[in-house]
Every structure is written in C-alpha cells, then in structure tokens.
Amino acid sequence: MDIVTIVQILDSTLRLATPLLFACLAGIISERAGIFDIGLEGKLLIAAFFSAAYAHYSGSAWIGLGAGVLASVVFSLFHGIASITFRGNQLISGVAINFLASGMTVVIAQSWFRQGGRTPSLTGDQRFPSLDLPGAEAVQGVPVIGQIYGEILTDHGILVYVGLLCVPLTWYVLYRTRFGLRLRAVGENPAAVDTAGVSVVRMRYAAIVIAGVLCGIGGAYLSTSLAAGFVREMSAGRGFIALAAMIFAKWRPWQGLGAVLLFGMLEAIANRFPNLDLGFITLPSQFMTALPYILTVIILAGFVGKAIPPRAGGEPYVKER
C-alpha cells in the first residue's frame, strides 16, 4: 500500500465519518440524559430531505441547513413528547421516528418535486463548497505534515470542520459546565436531580433538542455536501452505525470521535479494496462493512472493558408523590 492510497483512504475516512460523528454526539447527549435514541437514523434522513429541498428552493445551502435542523428538532420533540411527557417506551418511539421519516420523506418529495421521492440535483450555491484550510497549499511539499494538513484535512465541506469542533464542545459542555453535570445526573439518578430542585423534564427536553440539532447538521451534510440532493433512504443505516459507535465509545465524546473515525476508515477501506489481500488471508469488503457491528458486540459482551450505559437510560421519570 503506497502513501497516495493511504492519504486517499484517510481523506475518504474523514468524509464518511462526519455524518456518523454528528449522529454519535447526538446519541451521547441524549442517552447521557437518560433518553435512548434509536431514532438517529430517522432524524438524519428527515434532515437530509428538508435540507436538500430548501437548498433547492432558496438556492442557499445555509437555508437548507436551517430547514434540516428544524425538521430534525421537530422529530426530536415528537420523541420527547412521547417518551418524556407521556412516559412512553423510548425504543418504540424511536422506531416510530425511523418509520415516519422513511415514509414521510418519500411522500413529501413526491408531492413537491414529482421525481419519485427524490429532490432535483443541487448545483452551485445549493451545496456546501469545499473549504481550503489556510496555508494548505503552502505546506503541501512538507513531508507528513504536508500530507496530513495539506491533503487529508483540507478541501472538505465546511460541516466536516463543524463536526470536528463539536467534539471538544460536547466534551466541555458535558464535563465542565453546570448544565452538563445536571445532564449527566439526570441520566444516572433523576430523583437526586429532582430533589435538588432542577426540573428533570426540562433537562431531558434540552438534551433531545441538542441531539436534534446535531442530527440535523449530520443529515444536511449527507444531502447538501457529500451528495447533491436527496434520494430515498439515503441515510442507509448510518444512524445505526452511529449508535454502535456510541456504545463502542462508552458514551464519551472524544472516544466517540475515535470510534466514528475507525468505522469510517473501515468503510473507506471496503470501498477502496473490494477484496483486501493481507498476504495470508483475503478479506472480502463485506467483512469490513460488518466489522463495526462485530466490534460493538465484542464491546457489549464485555471482552474489552465494559460498556455500562447511563443507569436511568430508557426509564421515564416519575416523580414520587
């Protein structure tokens, strides 16, 4: 494997990991507050559709992004109303969101655009342009740094960098602010938070709205930066891989970044080498595609450390009378 191939794979890794990263961070925030969120996939999808649709109507990818985020937040609120206010089962509500997004996007797209559940192809300003990092050209000749900064890190859609910035931000909010402390406490022991006079319901709603915003950006990235328009079911299971990444990272943001980069790299390798020849064994690309799930199962089974979810996760909070 030569250096050009490695650079290309890492470049592709960064692009493929970004939607996973947004969804993974969304999952971390939501589940840290005690709300299981398997509706990540649905939120990515609905955001991808509304971003592409409004980017098409307005001619601006930024307005598209706004519409996508809004749609994703609305879906988050559905989840919230069902599982926080009405104390429904969070898993069922999440599944409902996935189904709703899958069907609704196609129906609305068909009635708006009459192109069989897809949006028209986006061109020009309707998509996020690639961003050249300052000085990327200049360092291109320098070994290692030139390759990393000048080729891998530069020339991606702006949302890739937003995603990378969201990691320290999420870490800071979760571990260094009062809000984050309360948020984590709500996921571990909501009764204690309630006793301290903080509204559990309000904290949980805040968490899912943040999760909605993050998923919305991830969805917008799919349809208006990576691809050029919406195609039905275009999220293609990325929300679920993000869930796997979240568990793999044991609900921690930095480790989440590591997990999505690993999973993104596996996908990039599978794309680059249909059959990976390691000398003594040939791995088909299907094996690479399956690896994220296999790794997650191994982690969950407790072979490598132990993944312990937030203790109050999945439990609707009922105030004692």
Binding site: V4, T5, Q8, I9, S12, R15, L16, P19, V106, Q115, G116, G117, R118, S121, L222, L226, A227, A228, G229, V231, R232, E233, M234, A236, G237, E267, A268, N271, R272, P274, N275, S285, Q286, T289
Partner: protein
Amino acid sequence: MKLTRKFLGATAVLALTTGAALADPALIYDMGGKFDRSFNEMAFTGATRWAEETGGEFRDIELQSEAQREQAIRRFAESGYNPVVMTGFSMATPLEVVAADYPDTTFVIIDGVVDLPNVRSVIFSEQEGSYLVGLLAGMATETDNVSFVGGMDVPLIRAFACGYAQGAVAANEEVNVIVNYTGTTPAAWNDPVRGSEITAAQISQGSDVVFAAAGGTGVGVLQRAVDDGILSIGVDSNQNYLHPGQVLTSMMKRVDNAVYSAFESGPGMETGLHVMDLAAGGVGWADDEHNAELISDEMRAAVSSAQEAIAAGELAVHDYRSDSSCPISVE
C-alpha cells in the same frame, strides 16, 4: 356446506366488483421505485407510452418492502388484471408460487426466469450493451484506467461488469478495469453517498471513465464524476441529460419496449423465454445531443461495427451468468 356457500358468495362478490377492471394490465415495480431514473422508470415509460397510444388504462404499484412481493402479485391476479407485468430478478421466487395458482392470468417477469406455462420471462443481454459502452470507455480513457460501480453484488450486475470489461479491453489492450460493488443488500441500490466515495477511490486509482450500474446509487457516482471532472456512463435509461457534456453515454436497456410489447399483446401473448438482445433492440447505447461532442467519428465507427458483428453473431460477448466467471479479471 355453509363454508362452501360462503366461499361461493365471496367469489361472486369479487367477480362483480372486479368486472370493471377486467383485462386491464398491471405493472409492479421493484424496490428501486417507479422514478429511479433507471430500470423501473423505463418500465413506467413503456407502460405510459402504451396507455397514450391505445387509450388503455393500467394499474401499477411500487413495492416498499420485501414482504409485499407475493402479496402484490396475488392482489393484481385476484382482481382480474391481465397481464400482470413485474420488474426485477427478485420477483422470480414469489411469482413461481403465485403463477401456478392463477393459470388463467398471464404474467410477465422482466430480468428473471420462471418456467411456467402462463409466464413470459423477459431477459436482456446486458453483457452486449455493456460491451458497447465498454468499447467507448476504452477509447475515451486517457489514463488507461476505467472503472465500474455496481449496485448489489448479484450475477446480473456482474454480467454488466464483465461485458463492460470485455469491451474496454477490446478497444485498448492496455486498459485496466477497476470494479467495485456498493453492497450485498437491496440498500445498495439507494446509497449515493457510498457510490460517490467508491468513485472517489476509483479516481484516485487513475480511472477517468466510470460506468454505474447501481440504480439510485448511480446518481452519486455520476455527481462525483462531474465534481472531479471525469466522464461517466449511465445505465438502463438514457441518463445523458443529467449532466450534459459530462456523461459519455448510457447503456440502454429497453425495459420500456418489453413492457410495451407485453401490454400490447395482452393476455393472449406468447409465453416462455424472451431474450431481448442487441439484435432484437433490447440493449444499446445512447447517442444524443448531450454527448454528441464526446463521441468522435472514430468511436462511432468502432461501436457500430461491433454492434453489427454482435447482431450477426460473429462476435460473442461472454455472459457472466452462463458459467459464473469472466474471461477478464474483474475482481
């Protein structure tokens, strides 16, 4: 006795309610959806053309899940639609079960083979059409690298890849053909993001012409080709118009003609195996105003002589499906 009467009553009611629809044809689209700008859309185009020309009416349904396949065929047969046309190799298994139950209904399956007296199985010689576009790709490439992005990894799509590789190598012996498949599940037909990344990987390996036989995933392939300034080749329907001047050509698979002729012949059509090959106009390449400047006279001459040779039987393009192997390495 009571039960029999109930059944008779039910049948009578059914017969009365379906009287109006009797003998209208019906069409079932595979999972890619009616407007995939590709395979299923061609079927719709053929059906629409029939409806416009004859003033007839037809019913159609888009499948949303694997479980609906058998149900959809049964519903149409039950309501008296005849013939019932369906697209996609995945319909073969359910059709085998259902067709035997409705001996008076004529079924047509496109891209699959069901050996029953009331079924017409239409298959295309995709390898021949792919050979032609491969020939064009082999002549158009400047880097001696061309690539192929397949949708779901199934023998049908491998036949596309194999024909394409044979054509490219026939045009230029030096040419290297890079082949990738998007996946192994039906989701592979609708993942433009993955398609785009695979194309990027192929471009980094030097490919400057990419052929997408991947349904909705192809949209991402063509988009990436445009973004990175290489040529692409569309599939099934004429996709040249999607990016004028940047799509080299499209491998046309005339599903529309198959549907049209099935609708036109009606329930009394000849059943059995129908092979739509190059000679029968079943496959071909798209040559229109959008790609006119990309196709040189030399290319046009080469492709039309290959076309004649294949139609006359002088040139045999190997079909991957015949022995599950390809003379050109496409791994």
